[in-house]
């Protein structure tokens, strides 16, 4: 009986819509035959392929001081095309200092929604040559050489993001959080951001404005050395601060079934602590996303390398190619020069896009890099950071 009633109801509704339509038509109140569309957020960000290992120039459009120790550079592609990236990704900069090319990775700190340009935010590292150079000398009109964007520290399918940032680790986190909140109503974002002192807090206005205007987000600031009257959390981002904050989230959690992911970026010690704590609380490893900032060795390890060219057999896309590797060349440089389709992105050991299997032979890899212990044990190497010690067989998977 009910199904007949429902069928009748459906017919009645269709009839009503049809009649309304004819009536509107005759009164001249038609629906417009065309609607404006603008839905870039539905699609993955389109990144231009950068086939060459050679970095391209970016133009510094503006320089904004964020804190006494951090500066934001507004960048644009040198050729006028949009600087396309996915929130959370980084660029690899090749900075020439004292006749030496230093490679450094900096996360893009703006949201890709605010293109065509993008920003990086650089915090001084004690003794850091590039970070201090950029803080002291970067000026509008400068040209910086860069590769990328690279990296897979980006928003996935999770609908609840718990984000932990320390110091300059806020840069990719702010980009992801802002982009998600501005484009999706179905996500929740909780951010805990730790610093030493109040003056060190980067993007404070931006983060607070974001939290204010999005009910589906929350922001907590923690300081190790808070000023008098500080209303936020106090202490380093260790168990004493993180634990209660996570407890609170758990307590406030509305739907236990939502897909939750943890995004962590900050100083090494904080990240290790956070990982241990999250694991102890039963968070599965695949729900934890980390971005570790590492600078590669400024000069390659050369001691154990042969002085003459060696031949390497590379299997890619089902075909074997014999590739000569000149002394000092990386496997990636040699492979690309020989026309082998080898994937890569940051070319400095930071993103694992060039990860391939070492089937035979030995290589020397620049350290540190982003391979996990597990990956090393399974025979993976990074082509961008590896030089052969003798004949080698390689498989690009």
């Amino acid at each position: 009986m009910e199904s007949i009633a429902r069928r009748l109801e459906r017919r009645w509704n269709t009839l009503k819509t049809d009649l309304t339509w004819i009536g509107r038509d005759l009164r001249g109140q038609k629906r417009p035959p065309v609607v404006a569309r603008r839905g870039p957020s539905r699609y993955p960000v389109a990144t231009a392929p950068r086939p060459a290992l050679r970095p391209r120039p970016l133009r510094v459009e503006a320089v904004v001081r964020e804190t006494p120790d951090a500066v934001t550079l507004h960048l644009a592609e040198g050729d006028g095309t949009p600087l396309a990236f996915e929130a959370g990704q980084f660029l690899t900069f090749h900075v020439e200092l004292d006749g030496q090319t230093l490679k450094r990775a900096y996360s893009l700190s703006s949201s890709p929604l605010d293109g065509p340009g993008a920003t990086i935010t650089v915090k001084r590292v004690e003794g850091g040559r590039v970070s201090n150079h950029l803080n002291d000398h970067a000026a509008p009109g400068d040209r910086l050489l860069a590769l990328g964007p690279s990296g897979s520290f980006v928003a996935g399918a999770a609908t609840e993001l718990v984000m932990l940032a320390g110091g300059s680790g806020i840069t990719p986190i702010a980009s992801i959080a802002e982009t998600l909140l501005r484009t999706r109503d179905d996500v929740r974002v909780h951010l805990l951001y730790g610093n030493r002192a109040e003056a060190d807090v980067i993007f404070r206005d931006r983060l607070e404005a974001l939290a204010r205007s999005h009910a589906n987000s929350s922001l907590a600031l923690a300081l190790e050395a808070p000023p008098a009257g500080w209303s936020g959390l106090t202490g380093r981002l260790d168990e004493a601060v993180l634990g209660p904050w996570l407890d609170r989230l758990e307590h406030d959690r509305l739907e236990p079934s939502v897909d939750r992911a943890y995004y962590v970026c900050g100083p090494e010690a904080m990240m290790d602590g956070a990982r241990a704590l999250l694991s102890a609380r039963g968070v599965p490893p695949e729900a934890i996303f980390e971005e570790r900032f590492r600078s590669p060795a400024d000069a390659p390890a050369s001691a154990e390398l042969p002085a003459e060219a060696v031949t390497v057999r590379v299997r890619a896309a089902g075909r074997d190619t014999i590739v000569p590797v000149a002394p000092g060349q990386t496997l990636l440089e040699a492979g690309l020069a020989a026309g082998v389709p080898m994937p890569f992105s940051c070319a400095m050991g930071g993103c694992a896009a060039c990860k391939c299997k070492l089937a035979e032979g030995e290589v020397v890899m620049d350290e540190p890099n982003c391979l996990t212990d597990r990956e090393r044990a399974d025979g993976w190497i990074l082509a961008c950071s590896s030089r052969p010690r003798g004949p080698v067989r390689l498989e690009v998977v």
Partner: protein, 395 residues
């Protein structure tokens, strides 16, 4: 027919609507075969009078067909098996197109389509104004958005039809192939939608006559009618339009997109020819064959005469000129003429190949000037690469 004099007496808003109805009616009256008319009639009512495609709410259509299972999994059609293998190898990822290309629809150095996609001289004469270069660029942008919107709507129809036909077809090799076509159509929906959303930034509602055809095909329970309508007629129009646009656009992303789509489409039409040739020859009696022959002819004419960007008319010109004047102006555009040429040079040889171009119907095609396409190559003799090479040559 409502006389033009009576129409002139109506208030202008009502007048343009009555004109619309009169136009729809005259479209139906152009169909000479009463059986074709009775099969299209209800769809025409839903499409052109009730405007189901334009109501802004989802449309439901009761699709009925017979699913055909075979639990013995025979290798029953080697040519279809070969198409299946080719389709598997020919899969591509819509994300891999150069979406980073920045598209400026108003850049005169990279025109989306040549100026002659509109007969500006005819339009200017009818309206009595001259178009500025900016207005022309806007109209070109509208025309490309309109065409791509109709492709998108057509691809949605093709997606559902491909799925239904995959269920209904009696060849097992055809079912496997059909699965790849469903994937292809899904991808086409994805890329056209993405292009409209992110590059053109506008979407036109479905053209009434396209709605009528899709509606008729969905409701027809005979699989070979769905097939004939979608694989031969709608895909024929699509290939005509894709081909013309591929040849003439200077926009690199659109060109790349169409190149990929055309290669898929050439497989789809090829499959249509294989399945229908067999079916028409062995399964249909002469009466049924004639019915399909008449249906194809009438639908081909409908597409030629009525697929005329009325949505752009409603957006820009309603109230300024009549539908009749608009029709004249669109039909006179040289770009549209080239589109019709590519469309029929694909469609007519395919109809011949599947046995729907007998001596009985040929005089009708000759009467409307389509006899010059009788001798062309059909889809089973023409690969996607050849099709593209031909288009590149003509560019």
């Amino acid at each position: 027919m409502i006389s033009e004099r009576v129409v002139q007496l109506l208030p202008s808003r009502v007048r343009s609507q009555v004109e619309g109805y009169a136009d729809a009616l005259s479209t139906l009256l152009e169909v000479r075969d009463p059986r074709v008319l009775s099969s299209i009639g209800p769809s025409a009512l839903r499409g052109t009078v009730l405007k189901r495609g334009k109501q802004g709410v989802p449309t439901t259509m009761p699709a009925s067909h017979r699913a055909y299972f075979d639990w013995t999994y025979p290798h029953d059609f080697p040519e279809m098996k070969e198409l299946y293998d080719r389709a598997k190898r020919g899969q591509w990822d819509g994300d891999a197109l150069p979406w980073h290309t920045s598209v400026d629809p108003f850049d005169p150095n990279v025109p989306l389509v040549p100026e002659d996609f509109f007969a500006y001289d005819v339009l200017e004469e009818e309206i009595g104004v001259r178009f500025t270069p900016k207005e022309k660029a806007e109209l070109q942008h509208a025309m490309v958005s309109w065409m791509l919107s109709q492709f998108l709507h057509g691809e949605q129809g093709a997606l559902f039809a491909a799925a239904q036909v995959t269920e209904a077809v009696q060849f097992f090799d055809g079912k496997l192939y059909g699965a790849t076509q469903v994937m292809d159509e899904g991808r086409h929906v994805e890329v056209f939608h993405r292009y409209l959303d992110t590059k053109m930034e506008k979407l036109y509602s479905i053209n009434d006559n396209l709605f009528v055809i899709i509606d008729a095909l969905m409701l027809d329970s005979r699989w070979d009618m769905k097939f004939l309508g979608m694989q031969i007629m709608v895909e024929g129009v699509a290939l005509g339009a894709f081909g013309t646009l591929y040849r003439e656009t200077k926009e690199p992303l659109l060109r790349e997109l169409l190149k990929n789509v055309i290669q898929d489409e050439s497989r789809h039409v090829h499959y249509g020819v294989l399945a229908l040739r067999e079916h028409v020859l062995n399964e249909l009696d002469e009466r049924e064959r004639r019915e399909r022959e008449d249906w194809s002819f009438e639908v081909a004419l409908l597409m030629r005469n009525r697929f005329l960007a009325y949505e752009i008319y409603e957006e820009h010109f309603e109230g300024l000129i009549t539908r009749k004047q608009w029709r004249r102006a669109v039909a006179a555009a040289r770009g549209m003429e080239r589109f019709r040429h590519v469309m029929f040079s694909r469609m007519v040889p395919n109809l011949r190949e599947i046995g729907l171009l007998s001596d009985r119907i040929r005089p009708h095609y000759t009467r409307v000037g389509l006899d010059r396409y009788f001798g062309g190559l059909a889809a089973d003799q023409l690969s996607g690469d050849q099709m593209l090479a031909e288009l590149d040559q003509a560019a």
